[in-house]
């Protein structure tokens, strides 16, 4: 059961978690990423490449399901203008085994960071606007899952 959503609206991570827990899998892991209000950040604008985004996320979810025995994968990624504290992304995995659920969840967020067509732009109190630079450490985190 793979469920991938790209949307401007917020989502209910608790309801997503409950749905995965209801699959009878024994183990459910989740990750939620939220906007941090660091350095006077007022808004984070998430741009995507719309024609590609859902397909890219479905591909990532499919790769996770091929590598680990998962009974469920949920990937939700927001786009548009988000304020501090807002949810950006949810990754949820269900499996019979805790290691599979935890590893697949970590894998998905690492690969989302480096392989999903989203770009972040930050706007600060003082009017400054800046694209978020990709981090080398994110590449390193993604690389540890290489086959």
């Amino acid at each position: 059961m793979i469920d991938v959503r790209v949307q401007a609206e917020d989502f209910d991570s608790g309801a997503e978690l409950a749905r995965l827990e209801g699959l009878g899998g024994g183990a459910v892991a989740s990750f939620t990423g939220l906007v941090r209000g660091d350095g006077g950040l007022v808004e984070m604008l998430l741009e995507q490449y719309p024609g590609m985004t859902v397909a890219a996320l479905q591909d990532l979810a499919g790769q996770a399901a091929a590598r680990w025995p998962l009974s469920g994968v949920t990937l939700i990624h927001r786009h548009g203008a988000l304020t501090p504290g807002a949810r950006i992304v949810f990754v949820g995995t269900a499996s019979r085994h805790r290691a599979a659920a935890l590893d697949a969840c970590a894998f998905l967020i690492d690969w989302l960071k480096t392989r999903a067509p989203f770009w972040k732009r930050e706007r600060f109190e003082d009017g400054r606007v800046a694209w978020v630079e990709a981090k080398r450490e994110d590449d390193a985190a993604a690389d540890r899952w290489a086959l």
């Binding site: 990624h77 989302l112 960071k113 480096t114 999903a116 067509p117 770009w119 694209w131 630079e133």
Partner: protein
């Protein structure tokens, strides 16, 4: 990229010796200062052909839509 190029997209008709994505980037970089600056850190860029991520060695023959990105920062 969009800001550096000063445009959202463009229709190009590269010469026949431009075979791969890497060739295309090299050729685009010759098309003006904005293009050259945008493509300076070429080894960090990623590309998609017809909305699928592909390596820079990929042939562009038959491609309808080619997208060139800076490194993604989602998640």
């Amino acid at each position: 990229m969009r800001e550096a190029f000063g445009l959202d997209g463009e229709q190009v008709d590269p010469p026949a010796e431009v075979a791969t994505l890497r060739d295309l980037l090299d050729w685009l970089a010759t098309r003006g200062a904005g293009h050259a600056a945008a493509l300076a850190q070429r080894d960090r860029l990623r590309a998609a052909i017809d909305q699928k991520f592909v390596p820079m060695e990929t042939s562009i023959a038959g491609a309808r839509e080619i997208a060139i990105f800076p490194p993604v920062t989602g998640g």
